[in-house]
Symmetry: D2
Subunit: 371 residues, 4 copies
Amino acid sequence: MRRLRMGLIGGGAGAFIGPVHRIAAELDREIELVAGAFSSDPARSRQAGDIYRIDPKRAYPDVATMLATEAGRDDGIDFVTIASPNHHHFTASRMALRAGVAVMCDKPATATLAEAKELAAIIARSRRPYGLTYTYSGYPLVREARARVAAGALGIVRKVLVEYPQGWLAGAAEGKQALWRTDPAQAGEGGAIADIGVHAFHLAEFVTGLRVTQLLADLAAVVPGRVLDDDCQVLLRFNNGARGVLLASQIMVGERNGLRLRVYGDKAGLDWSQEQPNILTWRHGDGRTEIIQAADAGLGPDARWATRTPGGHPEGYLEAFANLYRDFARQLRGEEGSLLPGIDDGLRGMAFIHLAVTASRAGAGWVEFEV
Amino acid sequence: MRRLRMGLIGGGAGAFIGPVHRIAAELDREIELVAGAFSSDPARSRQAGDIYRIDPKRAYPDVATMLATEAGRDDGIDFVTIASPNHHHFTASRMALRAGVAVMCDKPATATLAEAKELAAIIARSRRPYGLTYTYSGYPLVREARARVAAGALGIVRKVLVEYPQGWLAGAAEGKQALWRTDPAQAGEGGAIADIGVHAFHLAEFVTGLRVTQLLADLAAVVPGRVLDDDCQVLLRFNNGARGVLLASQIMVGERNGLRLRVYGDKAGLDWSQEQPNILTWRHGDGRTEIIQAADAGLGPDARWATRTPGGHPEGYLEAFANLYRDFARQLRGEEGSLLPGIDDGLRGMAFIHLAVTASRAGAGWVEFEV
Amino acid sequence: MRRLRMGLIGGGAGAFIGPVHRIAAELDREIELVAGAFSSDPARSRQAGDIYRIDPKRAYPDVATMLATEAGRDDGIDFVTIASPNHHHFTASRMALRAGVAVMCDKPATATLAEAKELAAIIARSRRPYGLTYTYSGYPLVREARARVAAGALGIVRKVLVEYPQGWLAGAAEGKQALWRTDPAQAGEGGAIADIGVHAFHLAEFVTGLRVTQLLADLAAVVPGRVLDDDCQVLLRFNNGARGVLLASQIMVGERNGLRLRVYGDKAGLDWSQEQPNILTWRHGDGRTEIIQAADAGLGPDARWATRTPGGHPEGYLEAFANLYRDFARQLRGEEGSLLPGIDDGLRGMAFIHLAVTASRAGAGWVEFEV
Amino acid sequence: MRRLRMGLIGGGAGAFIGPVHRIAAELDREIELVAGAFSSDPARSRQAGDIYRIDPKRAYPDVATMLATEAGRDDGIDFVTIASPNHHHFTASRMALRAGVAVMCDKPATATLAEAKELAAIIARSRRPYGLTYTYSGYPLVREARARVAAGALGIVRKVLVEYPQGWLAGAAEGKQALWRTDPAQAGEGGAIADIGVHAFHLAEFVTGLRVTQLLADLAAVVPGRVLDDDCQVLLRFNNGARGVLLASQIMVGERNGLRLRVYGDKAGLDWSQEQPNILTWRHGDGRTEIIQAADAGLGPDARWATRTPGGHPEGYLEAFANLYRDFARQLRGEEGSLLPGIDDGLRGMAFIHLAVTASRAGAGWVEFEV
């Protein structure tokens, strides 16, 4: 069975997430990076191609050229990964899908909700696999949590707490990564809510299997002079009546990437933190607290499938990311079982951002969650 | 210098908090329990007197008798501690103060905000010391946190997260402690918000030195059939513009007493958890994370004063509680430096409960915090 | 039932452990400090009496006077607590026992093994209660661990790791507490091995129910100019064939009081740390890791008896210490169930110190453990 | 710059470490797996080649064929990785080096100390790069620790504690991985000491920069019927006079892969655990405890070079392993700066195993560490 061939869009010099996609895609040797349109500047795209050590001829100056040229090769790309800034996501996705090429897209799916809806229609027509890298859904213990909740191990879910504290934007934005995220022209209408809040939102729905039906949003730009939100506190209602709180902030000084999910049912509670991803705390209704560890004997098939090393050999962010690519490869090969987020998750994420931003501006009050 | 003499109101058989007051008061040998009106049933009051091993003659059938009789003794009580159910707090406080006896009262100050206002006036007239046992303000590292914030170590406070998860009321209420807390006739208008939410509220104001000016409350009775709230999510605004979230819940299965406070300024962030009270995490703006431990050499005078043992010898809840009594003793002796909460804190706490309950019922929306 | 009356030997100004004994003894109101021979300097003894707020007439200039005078009172002391330096322990114990007064003694029992043997004989003849405050055996979860091991929950014990890192003597000794501990004239033949190693030794035997039968000791005085050991590494064999390691050091910079015990059987393993005393980690043979917390519903009677507050309300060092006094009170009242260490533990501790010191000097090699 | 070409020896079906080498080698796209002699059974070797998705012609039946055939290709392998059982390490290394092919070898270097010495001579003559995958030296914070110790941040190192608890061999050996490790014919003279003890030994020397000069070993086969040691306790002396303890065990039920290193100097102490590899605890001499995290701004060049993701995005075992391959690639390209262990470390490791086993058999006593 040959390796699937990947063309990378974006991921040129100075990028963080492009190289992460490359590592994740290739980790299990099911996929190989063979081409790229790494930058809108042809010279920079070639330079990136050298850094990735691909065939110089396949470092293209733009997406259209890549799609056209690769289509003419016997060993042309099977899919593109889109890791360019958010405002390119829609166009690049559309181009690829129209060319019959599958798409793996970094989140968010698009820059606006309207684009996301249009993209959903395009995907439906194209019938090509489309995946969205909500990275944290790739962690083995997140999948274990999801499976246990689905099996009723929490009982009826009543309460969901999801928080995503970061501190790196607590001061004035400096550097490429900070600048585009705080610029409405590049980032869209949401700041922290779009950058990290949407991850928290997805994680909560992914693990609980519930859907948010109402929210009350209180967003603010705390750092003087900032336009986009950098601190978000959102109250939630879920479709089974469960209540929740979502916090996302980039001004919590000293916090790294503290995504944490707690879910409580009427029988038990669970607690997972991204910075200690190989531990899942389970609080049983009888008072026992259990520390579930990655690769434990009692884990279910989803978690086992997503684990490469024995217990006590920590896996991390890159391995979680790679699990999304393994899922994607299953889809490309027509196999079952993928848990990879797709455009439905993308739509919900865009709706979440839009609703949170607009509702917060309008003065906090409960709004219906509609996609 | 003689020991101060304490008369205990409440704290009869089956009580949790009465014995805690006794231990806390006597821990440092500045105070001695000598009398009590432990129960409204005279026989039970005598029986409790035996258990506390006090002079049987000083186990009184009611508060009035205790106050009158003790007033006639050369070695009569210096103060009363009120540890009876909430709806007695006001009456007992008033009786004692009118008799010229100082009062240490378990929180909440009264059963209603109106009572609290009346009590404030009585206290002002009486000029006797009045203390309120917001226990968690007695922890050494809480006081260290407070002192550092006051000294500007966080910079300008921007964000406050305070949470108080418990799980013991996740099922139907059973037992004396659960039953009165879920009964509006005994507990007042608030459930979890009054039982624990108000602790979280006080802790946030105590450490930050800020005052809540607005809140948006979302309270619910999650357990089927329950009348009073058991799950509270509250958004906060502080008088310097800082934003915050307060969570208090008694349906988070498996949680014990997880009060936790996080405060972030523009320079640094702090993190303290009641279940690990001898650790204070300090996140410096330059990325360094420091674990401050009780009895560390670098601690300030408030924390040192509140610590009895060397580093690595854990102190806990009873010692924190005892610090409130040491504060109270300082007040009784006319000494400076007490950080003991008083009726102002009591008023704010009652206002918080009342506002949260009424605002939540009215449909969530921001309300002004007024006392 | 009246409170038992305590006379304190030692515990004058600047003492650490004397006040700890006082707090611990009185915490549960079964015992009351009424007298003391706090210092060999009569003025200082009177001054200490004032600080403890006892009747000035009962602050005695020496032990003999206290014993004689108290014997003549109707409300004379029931027991003495010996908290003076180690080299007084034997003499004070003997005087009290000969006067028919029970003894609670801070560890170690005596300054030498020979004294300990003589004391054992005196105790046997006196038939008065004699207790030794190996503090850490008072923690609820230590007692839970002991009960579970005794019930076979670990299976056959195979491996014992006990470590006691401290760092406060990593530099030149400064201050009263450091100076006497590093002075052979006051501390005896052992430094860290006698000060803290013996605690670790006792804890290991207490929890496992096993007895050390052989040891191999490697002790050193690491700090330049120091005479007594400050760093100890000891290999152990137990009477069932189990193997073990005991580490005790006072030169591990930055460590506070990190006593930790790990025991592994053929079925499960346990892990307890003094600085987080309300958690007991249990590693089940099937891979599950359980976090047992103080006051959990599933705890046995020994742990429950030793716990005063509900789950999540941390208890610490003083409460553990107080449990030893509750045990002692049971003995004084002729009740069953005490787990308080006695002279047998004292003898074994003195033998451990002596063997470790002498065997290490002789060049490391296995020696038989004999008392 | 082209990718370096790797030929894998071993790593066939059911292997754990072979795929780990493959992932690690390719993670940074500097290296590519192109060939292999995956099994001594030609059919199984071909099958493994398919799983790795390499050119079927380059899945060889044996090492000699691989070396000979690849030598004739323009795009032949640049190096071999040896991931076959220990008793093949020497022969395979010799064959490759004689063929002028560089070698990356899984630890241990050889099956016996004599072989290791012979291999060292071969390597010296061959002048080809030779690397040994002591995995744990690849973690960023291990390298940070090493750099800080070298810069004097601990002061003079006095005490080293290294422990490596596992529990998976606490019962009778079952499965391929367990069976060969407990079989002297395949594993050599050491059990746990060779499998994991040697990792602990290397880590201690790697971080401290010190060399063990004496040891006292106490090894045992605890599980009934086992021949090789499964529980090791070893006392250490280092060349600067520092003292230490090394523990390695595979019978500590419930432990996964708990390698932990603590080092104390006269100024500070450090603490690192493999299962939480992104945290390094630093205990300063003034009492401050600092939590250093991967990707922190204050880290030195070695740690930064070894880190791929921003703070809070956990990296783990595979990334640490990949750092060794990045080091090896530097060596192959003639670049400076590699920290990859080599044959000197291999020799010391083999000597450590041999000394520990033989000294323990002879009855515990101090032996000189000689290579």
